[in-house]
Symmetry: C2
Subunit: 454 residues, 2 copies
Amino acid sequence: MSEFAPFDKYLDKNLDESIQELSELCAQPSVAAQNWGMQETAQMVAEMLIKRGFKAEIMPTGGAPVVIAERAGARRDKTLLFYNHYDVQPAEPLELWESPAFEPTLRDDKLYARGVSDDKGHITSRLFAIDALLAEDGELPCNIKFVIEGEEEIGSVHLPDFIEKNQELLAADACVWEFGAVNFEEVPMQYVGLRGICYVELSVETAEIDVHSGLGGSIFPNAAWRLVWALNSLKDEDEHIRIPGFYDPLVPYTGRDKELLAALPDPADEYKTRYGVKSFLKDLPGGVDLRLAEVFEPTCTVCGLTSGYQGEGSKTVLPARASAKVDFRLVPNQTPPEVLEQLRAHLDAEGFSDIEIKFLGGGPPARTDPDDPFIKTVVETATEIYGTPMQIVPMIGGSGPNYPFVHVLNQPVATAGCGYPGTNAHAPNENMRLDLYVKHAKHVVRILKEFSAN
Amino acid sequence: MSEFAPFDKYLDKNLDESIQELSELCAQPSVAAQNWGMQETAQMVAEMLIKRGFKAEIMPTGGAPVVIAERAGARRDKTLLFYNHYDVQPAEPLELWESPAFEPTLRDDKLYARGVSDDKGHITSRLFAIDALLAEDGELPCNIKFVIEGEEEIGSVHLPDFIEKNQELLAADACVWEFGAVNFEEVPMQYVGLRGICYVELSVETAEIDVHSGLGGSIFPNAAWRLVWALNSLKDEDEHIRIPGFYDPLVPYTGRDKELLAALPDPADEYKTRYGVKSFLKDLPGGVDLRLAEVFEPTCTVCGLTSGYQGEGSKTVLPARASAKVDFRLVPNQTPPEVLEQLRAHLDAEGFSDIEIKFLGGGPPARTDPDDPFIKTVVETATEIYGTPMQIVPMIGGSGPNYPFVHVLNQPVATAGCGYPGTNAHAPNENMRLDLYVKHAKHVVRILKEFSAN
């Protein structure tokens, strides 16, 4: 029998209570983009930590507050930091939810609610693991800290600064990241790197009011056309980003990176089925080449276009204003300030000084060494629960504020969590599989025990 | 004393009754885009004609019905056709109206209501002129026909077909158009040509659902990028439209056209003030060159752009769908079917067969010879009323269904009406100046008398 049997038993037995706690947390909206319920949710989270004997504090940031918490454990010389966030994405479009976004609902062994997976379920499942440790051992195996921010879904605007200023409070030997998931084959994934992001709005105004297109079409400047031409100057149809200097800071991927990516299942068919795409860019068939392109290439993505008339049928208007949301995903060693500077210089050089750039958030990319000992601990302790060690992914396409953890706090950052491919994070009908919720709690128990044993 | 004094006296004396009739017509909503009150309004208009001894008929079109009417006059060998429309633009945004859109209200010698100028005031002022003729002469000087459609504000969808099929019913020697106006110097304008229009929606779908931009940015096709590149292929930054064959059918403007445009006041300053534009395309300073470009060049105008996330702040999404509204203004001898064919061939040739084209409406351009004798009649009969003959504009930038009148019914088409620059057609607080209403009725009396005398 596993040494973890008592903890596992506790977790299997007390699931309902933890789900009850998670439901209460999800019933409290905390939409950062709408500044809705941030203070209330921070308070709830702090109270949940205090209930477990943590010293918790709600700290101002200039935006939504950060909750930090700390409890000492048997080993005073080892500290693990959990990074989470209590804010959620907007729930819109509301009409696509099968049950209301802020009324957590159990269906088919899944709990449905906005934020149930991203990231409130990760908060409560970790607290659930702590409950098991305290119930069975009467103490924690090591010091545990939490840093739970309220702005992750709007780009962690104040977090890097907060970390910079509170390095001692957040000092730890290692960090467990806010998310983690099994893939479509139920294999838990260890993501050790995140691309950076530089998200901007490009906008242009060519007149004070819209003009009738019959009047202005051949003599008035048109904001929509200015935007189209400016965007076109950013990227060729072959996906080459035309901004001078953009590719200069790139560090090539290593042989080990390629080896790790090659070990992953080919995602091509799943992507085609899930998203209904017929083929990939540059005729990539799939396999390791698709994987390498997916995560080790920087991007320039148009996320949104807005101008003029967008309703049914026709309206003959020449738009005075146009704007685009554009997201650059960055790979080591690109940085948002450098990209912003290059973008401005490029637009000016191409004759688009009329295009305004508004920086909407971002951060640099960061990676933890896939062979770091802490990564090994997290990867191997998964085996007993998932029937397989975690599969290491050297880099993923997404972004998050891991840079200050890796490069300011100098912590190895490991992912572990209760997500799965159908979790619908950021989408209607976000849900959490109860079986994965318990598995993650069991994994956290093992991570803490093993981390404290070395 | 003018031979027209009795008619003028009648019109000055009976204005209140005509405004009462106009108010009743405006109180009856007839919003084609919302299919609101079309049948009822057609009925009202038919009854107004029958009251004047016209034989009127409400004819089906597949959409809103057309009212046609006819009354014989002293000269049986001469027929004048009035083209009008009883439908109006939607009144939204309602909150910007100072008095309710469908409650006609007199303020400062103006009648305010949706459709009061465009085009119900034109219907009743012409009936008012007919009242004067019948009261003083006991008969009409020539045959008069009306064709009053109910779909002008939604692109006269069924009118060309209706005209094609009812050529005998609509046969006439000349046509007076639905609108006309004085300019900002109170000079009545004679517009003898309208550009054509070909309005399309371009759309593309690259996946079934939006993809997270962190996942898809470097490997998934992006609908917004496809649209940007496709649009960019349509027109260069120097305004040259790149669609092969697009300019081939163009007939150059004549020396007479240029002479007529040169006689008009320079619109440059007014455009800059009204619309807040700083300069015009191709560095056109103003004057006749601006006028020539404004009306004798075909256009490709992006009227709207829609894709992905358009709210506040950032959302990291790779859009599955993107679309643009694009309006081509056509000059003789371009036609919508030819432009559609060229557009499809161009997009295919440029690698954009994934872009769908949806035709949302349009019609070819058409012109009446500025020196046509009927134009001369209309222009010169204005002098006694406005203190100046009409100023002939050989072509305007806007569009309307004049093609089947000019090229199927073979009628010269003259404009005359009661509009002015502050009339707010299509906008909140649409209004009709009572002085211009009476002037137009007086002008119509003179047009009919003079037309019948020759």
